[in-house]
């Protein structure tokens, strides 16, 4: 399962190669089984990249259709998992660019999943959200692949089909922006605590 981490493997059932081979031959029932098996993990990654449930659902739907359409071209069924992430990331790029609702200045916090990690303050999460939404989709994707799927840089490069230097560069800018977002949040507090 090249390019997919232990974490991703634990989160989802690995799609059987035989099922993939059947779907490659046009078996829609086999593909339906695949779609239900991979739906959650695709959606989860899409939501992390797009930070919007509606857009993530649209990207997931598009990715599943694209996976079906392109599946006969997949030479090695053993690489299905990594390949499906690549298709998903491309669907996220398309969503991010074509959907007017997606905007770097738009600020909508997800409220469907409770209060989140108690170790992260509301202020931290708000600043992370703001900082992340300012990033272009390519930088968002590398952050998600690194911090959510725990992929290494070579694995990210392989999955996205870009040189490792490009991954490194995107990651550098993305991390710098996220750090700036967090420190912008911290700055007023430090100023307020400074002795007069």
């Amino acid at each position: 399962m090249s390019g997919v981490t232990e974490r991703a493997a634990h989160e989802v059932d690995k799609v059987e190669h035989e099922l993939v081979a059947r779907a490659q031959r046009g078996d829609e029932n086999a593909f339906a089984d695949i779609a239900y098996a991979i739906g959650d993990r695709l959606f989860t990654v899409a939501q992390r990249i797009l930070r919007d449930i509606d857009l993530a659902e649209d990207a997931t739907q598009q990715a599943i259709v694209a996976i079906w359409r392109e599946l006969p071209g997949l030479r090695d069924p053993a690489r299905f998992d990594a390949w499906s992430y690549r298709v998903l990331v491309n669907a996220c790029y398309a969503q991010a660019r074509s959907e007017r609702r997606w905007s770097p200045s738009l600020h909508v916090l997800d409220t469907d999943h409770g209060a989140g990690d108690p170790q992260l303050s509301v202020a931290d999460r708000d600043q992370l959200e703001r900082g992340f939404r300012r990033l272009p989709p390519e930088q968002r994707a590398v952050l998600v692949l690194q911090h959510y799927l725990d992929l290494t840089l070579p694995q990210i490069a392989e999955l996205l089909g870009v040189p490792i230097g490009t991954v490194r560069s995107r990651l550098h800018y993305a991390r710098r922006a996220m750090r700036a977002a967090l420190e912008a949040d911290a700055r007023p507090a430090l100023t307020g605590s400074r002795p007069s």
Partner: protein, 250 residues
Amino acid sequence: MTTERDLDRTLDRWMDDGPSIVADRVIAAALTDVHTTRQRGARWAPLKELFMTMKPAATLVAIAAVAVLGIAAYRFILGGDIGMGGPPDRVLTAEDLPHIVLTAENAPGGLTVDGTDDGAPALVTPLHPVGPSFDMSAFVDALITNLNSAETGGYVSYAALFETSADAEGAYDFLVAEHTDAGWGMQRSSVDPELGDESATFTGAAYDIFERNEVHLWRVGNLVMAAVGVGDFDSDQVRSIAELMDDRAQ
């Protein structure tokens, strides 16, 4: 100051937050779309699987296959079933297709038919998935077979019938575009294969399966035909298939 480790930890925790279950309606909607979405190169996929498992066979068998093919062509010529070149003096019909395309009943020795399709699905099989639609108004019928050789790569025999020669000319031009820059982006050979009334040869990657393909595309009256080699094919075999089909259509 946020350290690198702090940032990593913060991002890890933040990424953990969020929904992790997709609504069933999303998958259901995708599968509805899937039902009406044609897979790229799907009809060629069985060839791929077959060719991946093929083992090299003896040269003797290859020579025998070519010899049988040659004899079959020679018999057609001597048998008076065909003319020699020039446009046909009759309009071909759907009943002619199984006698022109290489099928399980008439394929030369050494070639095994492992897939057959007809009608509109056969017509659109060689088309690139993105592009203008085929004008079906004058379409009559089509037949396509996938052929497997014990020695070399795979082959395809294809014929699409239209109401008139003029209709077939339009279809031929459309298929030429599908194989070149408007479609698969194959290279068109500068050498005319001199088949039928008009013909062209294309090489390169196509059909989303193999990097190496060779396509002879040509028209005889109201019939457009193609002989295709995919994967580890033998160019001479592709040419033999094309000539055999061409002879049968004349």
